[in-house]
Amino acid sequence: MKKRFYSTKLFKMIIVVAVCGLLVFLNPAQLFNPFRTVFSTAISPFQKIAYLFSLKVENAGNFLASIGKLKKENEKLTEENQRLQAENAQIQDLRRQKEILENQLNLLPREKYELENAYVIASDPSGRGNWIDISKGSQNGIKEGMSVIISQGILIGKIEKAELVSSRVALLSNPASRINAMTAQSGSKGIIKGEYGLGLILDIVSQNDILNKGDDVITSGLGGEIPRGIYIGKIKDVRESPDKLFWEAVVISPLNLSSLEVVSVIKIF
């Protein structure tokens, strides 16, 4: 009877489940890191091709779907173009004033960051938007903790792990992510946290500070890891924290994760 049980499917499954349970509990990450490095190095080029091809397919699909709306959108865009031209003139003036102030306060302009551009090659397969993989790694000077932005100067996350030819970026929506932030309008300081794939929360804001819907949230630069002034998102809603000690705000990021193609890692700032 014993011998029969040892050769059954159930026995095999029990053994595998027990071993896996032990591995998950003990989590001997160091033991498997060499496998991870080799595997990620081997599949990274194929992931890049697959991701870029998928973006092209998605763009083609969006184009076909939008053919009917093109005329209306054209009219709307012409109007918006005119408005933006007027705004641009004002922005040029503001830029000039900014340069004068930067020189006076000895601040480092954004253009002086040393950036390493990389392609997005993979993302969290669970669909929670916790991380993406990019096509540059430690051989390109990328290290854990470096900030990652997109070209418009919007923060998307930090480097969580740098392999040889690829790196994992923990996105802002990752619940383990913690970024020191502040509002651009009132300077109210807090911490940006991800909420299990449901969005971003600006948390631990003092009750003496002011938060308004529509305020822009930027990095505060506290801690020295991330440069100050990088855009994160806009406040959508303000409420008291569950313990009633702080304010917290729901922050909407302008990012569309599914269409990310190229990101920039801030190596030096």
Partner: protein
């Protein structure tokens, strides 16, 4: 040897498609689970004896590729392979229509179990209490569960057909 190389190539390709090809296409969450669907197909086609070790390998590569704790995906794929094998011996019938419905039932059950397990392990790993875990899991819109089930069923149809062709080629070449 050639057979095992092809199985490995199928798994690695599935991992690349799931991690890199699907995310931009499926901007709504969650993504179709290609690796899961392949394991279900193999279990039905090749039986538990062969499919089980492929499920273990698939889970190992999945954990390696996506930075999960080793054992996380191995566990659920092994359990799903066992359950599919267990129920297919009892419920699968020769009749194509009813047999097809039974297979769809396997995919639906496996999808729900896989998603529930994935959410549970993720939230538990993030330090959530049990009550909070169930609150977050059941606060997900029914639409997202239905979309995942629907996409997995479609994918299963394609994978089952393709993998059956591959297996029958191996069988005919070994004869």
């Amino acid at each position: 040897m050639k057979k095992y190389s092809i199985y490995l190539a199928v798994l690695v390709t599935a991992l690349i498609i799931q991690s890199s090809f699907f995310p931009p296409l499926f901007s709504f969450r969650p993504l179709p689970q290609l690796v899961l669907v392949i394991i279900i197909s193999w279990t039905v086609i090749a039986g538990f004896r062969s499919a089980f070790w492929r499920a273990v390998l698939a889970g190992f590569l999945f954990d390696i590729a996506f930075g999960q704790k080793i054992g996380t995906e191995i566990l659920i794929l092994a359990v799903i392979s066992y359950l599919v094998s267990f129920f297919s011996r009892r419920f699968l019938v020769e009749n194509k229509f009813w047999g097809g419905l039974v297979l769809v039932g396997f995919v639906i059950g496996a999808t729900v179990l896989h998603r529930f397990y994935g959410e549970f392990m993720y939230l538990a790993g993030a330090g959530c209490q049990i009550r909070e875990i169930f609150r977050v899991i059941f606060s997900n819109a029914a639409g997202s569960w239905l979309r995942e089930i629907f996409s997995n069923v479609i994918l299963f149809g394609l994978c089952f057909w393709a993998l059956k062709k591959i297996e029958s080629r191996f069988i005919s070449s070994s004869q």
